[in-house]
């Protein structure tokens, strides 16, 4: 097994970054699947309530109903990208709204109050970040505890009171349309574009992918993992502050300590549905953006179909589970089923078949390359292709024979074992 021989047979890894645009691949990508789901939901809605769907203002109000969670979704993408999780976002959002509300009550100018709200959110995020990154506590536990803490602080400060003084533009953001397009959707898309740039084009975003895939590797390649983690949590906190603008506007400009429970679950569910892996290091911004719209349409459609709020919870739960399961199912489960039924639980046979498949694939690649190669003359090409095809045939034949032999051996062993125990 020399190195040279290996380089001939093993598939060479494609190191080109841009793989070119392929329509067939694009149409079955997860983002496109989400678009199909969105279209499907729309068709169901049209079929069930045609009058309502085409009357003016319906679609706008559907979209508006789902937009109060959108900044949380964008922030959550970054957190999940690290392989962490943040379940304190809803409490953080309420905390930020409280800060803004108290400032407005004290008579500060609107802009200062908003900035203080966002800063309060960022401070809460920083607390989470320090606990997770620098002390090394697990993110789940920290954020569960801080969600109790933040909401607890709001409860202490507000007790059962409701804050009602908020800047006037809050409700405008949540409820107005510009040229028939909801203002909140426009803002969401602008923020989304910002996050696309941050995650896909900037150095910071690329760092997140590395950390999510392998934190140790990231540490050794000179990335300050702790600092990056802290920064991500601070961004999440600031996004909670931004979310408070959407949320308070949506609630008609008031906030109390019990509002917004369950928003963190919705945000995580949307991210997972949008194709962001909870193990970290996988996902794009487009998916969750479409998934936010899906969630809005789904909730509204189910509401119109007279499904009550708690049943909708069941649907949300199962969507979350199924969205995570799908990628697992087609890889692991298929492999397991194949092992069980085709190879009769014989791992040697499975390994043999897998190896042969890989080798055949590599050979087929070389055939395709020779076809494209212009430097060779036609007869030369023919000879080379013929050689490869022969090799494939012989490999497959050999594999079949060996598998049969292995299975036969196994059957024989089982028969022998049975005989031995049957006698006694």
């Amino acid at each position: 097994m020399s190195g040279e021989k290996n380089s001939n047979t093993a598939p060479v890894r494609d190191l080109t970054v841009k793989q070119g645009f392929k329509l067939s691949k694009f149409l079955v990508s997860w983002e496109m699947v989400l678009v199909y789901i969105l279209i499907l939901i729309n068709i169901v809605l049209i079929a069930s309530r045609p009058n309502l769907y085409f009357s003016s203002g319906t679609i706008q109000s559907i979209i508006q109903s789902g937009m109060d969670v959108c900044p949380l979704v964008l922030g959550m993408i970054l957190i999940l990208m690290l392989g962490d999780i943040d379940v304190s976002v809803a409490a953080n959002m309420i905390f930020a709204s409280m800060a803004t509300g108290l400032c407005c009550q004290a008579g500060l100018p609107a802009l200062a109050a908003v900035i203080i709200g966002i800063l309060a959110g960022a401070a809460c995020g920083m607390f989470n970040g320090v606990c997770v990154a620098y002390i090394g506590m697990p993110a789940v536990i920290v954020t569960i505890a801080t969600s109790m803490l933040f909401r607890g602080i709001v409860k202490i400060v507000l007790d059962v009171n409701v804050l009602k003084q908020f800047p006037g533009f809050y409700t405008a953001i949540a409820w107005t349309n510009i040229a028939e397009i909801p203002l909140s959707l426009i803002l969401f898309l602008i923020m989304g574009a910002g996050f696309v740039f941050l995650l896909q084009k900037s150095k910071f975003g690329r760092k997140l992918y590395i950390i999510g895939n392998n934190p140790t590797c990231a540490e050794y390649s000179g990335i300050d993992v702790k600092k990056t983690k802290l920064l991500v949590f601070v961004i999440m906190g600031a996004m909670c502050g931004v979310a408070s603008i959407f949320f308070v506007g949506r609630m008609g400009g008031s906030v109390s300590s019990t509002m917004g429970t369950g928003y963190e679950m919705t945000a995580i569910a949307i991210c997972v549905l949008g194709g962001v892996s909870t193990n970290g290091g996988k996902g794009k911004v487009y998916g969750p953006i479409i998934a936010t719209l899906i969630m809005a349409f789904l909730t509204y459609t189910l509401g119109l179909l007279e499904v009550d709020a708690n049943t909708r919870k069941i649907v949300t739960g199962f969507i979350l589970i199924i969205a995570v399961l799908i990628p697992n199912v087609n890889k692991q489960l298929l492999a397991n089923l194949k092992l069980k039924f085709i190879y009769k639980g014989n791992k040697n046979a499975e390994a043999l078949n897998n190896r042969t498949l890989e080798e055949v694939k590599a050979l087929k690649n070389t055939i395709a390359e020779t076809r494209k190669d212009t430097s060779l003359s036609e007869p030369d090409k023919g000879v080379k292709i013929k050689k490869c095809e022969d090799k494939i045939a012989s490999l497959q034949k050999k594999c079949k024979e060996q598998t049969a032999a292995l299975l036969k051996e196994q059957r024989e062993d089982e028969r022998k074992a049975k005989e031995r125990f049957a006698v006694k």
Partner: protein, 334 residues
């Protein structure tokens, strides 16, 4: 191994339970100074009775945390089993109470098995899987209850007896709790399956190489946790003689907090039942303490959150210093 170490003072002070007991003592003294009315046998029994559900949940949660996972659906499982038992009990008053205990165990077991299937066999991240099932179980609970409430006059006596009947002066729910503590202690310490739970949590890969089926062990832990959650749902309704779908909200957080207070390592593989018992006592004293002081009830969430953070931070620092000390003893660190 095999050599009995001498018990020294430093050994006692260094063990984790010592710190916990010290904390408990401080709390008790604090409570004695501020609210002396807490110290009567009746009120202590009352306190333990009302907190017993947390103890059951914490033992279940502990099994899962030991495998390195987490289960946040136990509050919803509690609600589901409570609602199913109450509704069927109110509709069939002639059936003896023991049937409902069995039913609660079965319902909890099914919920736990579903979680176990997702986490163990489909390899989902435990947090996300149980997040989803939490939604689903709570929704099912609402569907089954139809938004209805059940009140004391609808409960039959043999149902309530499982929580409130006094045997030797101690409520039945506490006897059940003690039995569960002892069973968990024996299971985790002295059976093969119990030791396997520790093995999985300590090092997943090496335990797999050693021939332990990781899927089965995770599944088992999830089923046990679900059964305990189901049982606690039935006992909760029997204890308070009221029920609605909203019971058990955020109880999973309290259960996790008790585990962490009791020294169960959140990364898995470390933690003992006796630590959890002490954690349970501490949490009971804290919640009771808060409820006794007027005007402090709004503080309860914030205090609980702060306690969890402090406990986890303490847990991590002690673990780190223990690691460092071990390295120093082996001469790896100067």
């Amino acid at each position: 191994m095999g050599v009995k170490n001498k018990i020294t003072v430093s050994k006692i002070t260094e063990s984790r339970n010592f710190g916990l007991l010290l904390g408990l003592a401080v709390l008790l003294i604090l409570a004695a100074v501020i609210t002396p009315s807490m110290y009567s046998l009746n009120s202590i029994l009352n306190m333990l009775q009302n907190n017993a559900v947390y103890g059951l949940l914490a033992i279940g949660e502990m099994m899962i945390i030991l495998t390195g996972g987490i289960d946040i659906s136990i509050g919803a499982t509690l609600s589901l089993s409570g609602v199913v038992c109450c509704r069927l009990m109110a509709e069939n008053p002639g059936v003896p109470g023991a049937v409902w205990v069995l039913l609660a165990l079965v319902i909890g077991g099914i919920c736990g098995a579903f979680n176990g299937l997702l986490v163990g066999y489909f390899k989902m991240v435990p947090m996300i899987a149980t997040l989803g099932t939490m939604y689903a179980f709570r929704g099912f609970s609402f569907l089954f209850s139809g938004g209805q409430w059940w009140f004391p006059h609808q409960f039959i006596d043999s149902y309530l007896a499982f929580a409130t009947k006094r045997i030797l002066g101690i409520p039945a729910i506490l006897w059940i709790l003690i039995a569960v503590f002892i069973l968990a202690f024996l299971f985790l310490g002295y059976t093969t399956r119990g030791r396997r739970i520790y093995a999985i949590g300590t090092n997943r890969e090496s335990s797999q190489v050693a021939g332990i089926k990781e899927e089965k062990v995770t599944f088992l832990a999830m089923v046990i946790c679900g059964m305990l959650a189901g049982l606690s749902g039935m006992l909760y309704t029997a204890n308070y003689a009221t029920c609605s779908y909203s019971i058990g909200d955020a109880y999973e957080m309290t259960a996790i907090a008790i585990c962490i207070l009791g020294g169960v390592s959140i990364t898995g593989g470390k933690g003992k039942v006796d630590g959890v018992v002490i954690g349970f006592l501490m949490m009971a004293v804290i919640t009771y303490f808060i409820s006794l002081l007027p005007g402090l009830s709004v503080w309860s969430d914030a205090i609980q959150g702060a306690i969890i953070i402090a406990a986890v931070a303490l847990n991590i620092f002690t673990e780190r210093s223990a690691e460092k000390r071990a390295l120093k003893e082996r001469g790896a660190l100067i």
